[in-house]
């Protein structure tokens, strides 16, 4: 791999540059030509960042013949010599668009401003704090560029005493914090990060160890979720509803039906009415169970229940019935033709020993069958009525079964976790009512019960 070759070359280069320090300063400018003929051609394929990094292999900053790079547009920003913290650089840029390009621009302003990189630790901490605002916290190239801010080769311990005594502890801690922010956002570093860390801190240092830990544990836990969620959830609410319903139903035969697409209607009076989307799911097994349901017992529409996928919360409603009491349970005989390879029911007089008992001694919870699920953005009774009438087309028995609505407090609309502050504040007033209306508490729930007899006409 190109990167590992680069590492070997770096090691050899370091030895050469140690020898190179003995050269008189005048010849330092020619270091590039003398010591790197072979490597420059081989490294020609690497990215620009590497070439920029190689430029820092000068023996001492005072020897560089090159001027600090001048750039034209940013001069007015950096001309101001008053005491300004590094946060201000970001604040100034933040007045314009907050994008990756402007973030990179700020880093460039800083790196080209001072060859000695004074205060680079504070700058990196400030940049780490500002990353979420600029929206670049999940971008590996930006992290690599930020690690590039460290001057190379200065912090590498050169003998065993320096290696023992935590050489340059502040810079090492800063490097560890950069990697820790990468770890928090779940970003896997790449070979460029490793090369940068070796150049900056050397091997067997804390940032390098942290990198090794990330590279060991992240691949182990990457696919440990048995119900994986894609990184980018669909943005269209109907697609999102379809995805989450199939996820919850856990049945390949379940069919998703879109009863209504979201649209904006203009009624006769000129008022705008937004119709929410209604997406429902039902599997053939559930249809059979509903067909066999006793019409004297009511079915309930319950909701809204939350479902979280990464940081988005959606709400779904459930059509279910209470469990049938034991006296009404009919044991259906097994149909032997359902499976011809082996008998489904065996009448043997054998008992299982204690050592072979593989079931838990826990009473089975029977909470009643679930007949269908649906998702809609507006959870009021009118919309759910529409869903039930849509369901009735495939389950005609719903016309005879009384349907009761047990709806909890209105859900917050489908929103991602945008602003932590506003989200936390908005949960407080609703939490009290939400606590009462939570599913499972039949006595205290805000219950809207309305018997719904057979209806033929959609209301």
């Amino acid at each position: 791999m190109k990167g590992s070759r680069c590492l070997h070359q770096l090691k050899s280069l370091r030895l050469l540059s140690h020898a190179g320090r003995l050269l008189p300063p005048a010849a330092a400018g020619n270091n590039g030509a003398l010591f790197r003929p072979r490597s420059s051609s081989q490294l020609g394929g690497l990215q620009c960042a590497q070439r920029e990094v190689l430029r820092h292999f000068h023996s001492s900053p005072a020897c560089t013949k090159g001027q600090p790079a001048r750039f034209l547009q940013e001069e007015d920003k950096t001309r101001d010599k008053s005491l300004v913290t590094h946060d201000d650089l970001f604040e100034q840029v933040a007045k314009e668009a907050k994008t990756k390009a402007t973030f990179n621009k700020v880093i460039d302003v800083y790196t080209k401003g001072d060859i000695r990189r004074r205060g680079h630790v504070e700058f990196i901490y400030a940049a780490l704090k500002k990353m979420p605002e600029f929206g670049v916290e999940k971008d590996l190239t930006v992290y690599n560029k930020l690690l590039d801010v460290f001057p190379k080769e200065v912090f590498v311990p050169r003998n065993f005493i320096q290696r023992m005594f935590n050489h340059y502890p502040r810079q090492q801690e800063c490097g560890v914090q950069v990697l820790e922010q990468m770890e928090n956002y779940g970003i896997m570093p790449n070979i460029e990060t490793k090369v940068l860390l070796v150049q900056i801190f050397g091997e067997k240092t804390h940032p390098m160890r942290k990198y090794q830990r990330i590279m060991y544990w992240f691949p182990k836990f990457k696919h440990v979720n048995p119900f994986p969620i894609p990184e980018q959830l669909p943005e269209d609410p109907v697609d999102l509803a379809r995805f989450s319903l199939t996820r919850m139903a856990n049945d390949w035969d379940a069919k998703v039906t879109v009863y209504q697409l979201p649209c904006t209607d203009v009624t006769e009076s000129g008022a705008e009415v937004t119709l929410p989307h209604i997406v429902g799911i039902q599997s053939p097994g559930q249809m059979e169970a509903l067909a066999k349901h006793n019409p004297d017992r009511p079915v309930f529409v319950e909701g809204p229940f939350p479902l979280w996928m990464r940081k988005t919360c959606v709400y779904y409603y459930v059509l279910r019935a209470d469990p049938t009491p034991p006296e009404e349970k009919i044991e259906e005989p097994y149909d032997p033709e359902r499976c011809l390879s082996y008998p489904l029911q065996l009448d043997l007089d054998l008992d299982r020993d204690l050592g072979d008992d593989e079931s838990f001694d826990v009473e089975d919870l029977d909470e009643g069958p679930v007949f269908a699920m649906c998702m809609t953005s507006q959870g009021d009774q009118a919309t759910l009525n529409q869903w039930i009438s849509g369901l009735q087309e495939s389950n005609p028995i719903l016309g005879q079964i009384p349907t009761l609505f047990r709806l909890g407090a209105g859900p917050r609309e489908l929103q991602g976790v945008g602003d932590a502050d506003s989200a936390s504040r908005s949960w407080f007033p609703s939490h009290v009512q939400r606590e009462e209306a939570h599913p499972g508490e039949e006595a205290e729930a805000v219950v809207e019960e309305e018997p719904r007899r057979s209806q033929g006409v959609k209301q």
Binding site: Q162, K210, Q212, R213, V417, S424, W427
Partner: protein
Amino acid sequence: MSLPRITHLPSGRLLSAILHHQRLLPSIIPLTVPKRAVIQGEYRRPGQPRKAKFPWKKINFNFSKGLEGIKKHFTLLKKEFTDRWVGPEGKPIVEHMLEQNRAVWEFRGPESLGEWTVSSDREIGGHSEAYLKLGRNNNTCFLYGTLSSTPPRDGETRYSGYCTMRSKQPLASFDRKKHHDWSSFNTLHLRVRGDGRPWMINISAETYFSHQKDDIYCYFLYTRGGPYWQDVKIPFSKFFLTHRGRIQDDQHPVWLDKVNTIGFTLGDKADGPFQLEIDFIGVCKDYAHTEEFAYEAYKRNPEV
């Protein structure tokens, strides 16, 4: 991971270099990094004052509570004596040797909730809430609340937004510690109904050294969400060792003969309400599972 403070004197030049460094760039560090000595005493929750409470002030003299306590402890003691005649741990020897499944926690009544401690980051000054109650039909436990990841403003906490439910340490008579002995099992079996959030299961075992006090063996519990119950089976060989929330380099499988507590924690940085319903927690012996440990013993000084 924070670097230990240099408590010993380094060589003269190095010391002056470090001090010079610190004077040049004064501490306007936006990201505060905790400074911990290598030898850690009692864990101090960040944000709490460092004053000590004298041990004699913690005793509480109350007559009726004392009588109740005596009754409870002597009943437990009597039970311990009589249990030995039935068999080990109060079960007949045949059952103890052959049992393959044991439902350790079942939530069938309000007294089962008393075995659990619920806490959230409210203790360090955060804004999350967590509550525990019985679920529908009093048959399950229902952990619900709200998470908020705004960190408390105490100057040292950087991340926040977690909640946890942990079982209480089982106690024998006179408040002696008792342990769960799961050495004949190898899988943890739970039946849960979550809302799609990823939880973490923490098992805490009895340790010998004081440094190991916060050693917890963790694994993930991914919930699917939805109205159906989810059976989760996690072999104990998958649990990895962490200390104070940081995964350790030296990994070893959890020792099941002295398990103290089990806990569930949520800290997935998604603000909003959460809920988790647990039907039962049990351990079982899965003969098909032959793995001893899922992670390698890590080389301490691997080459880069």
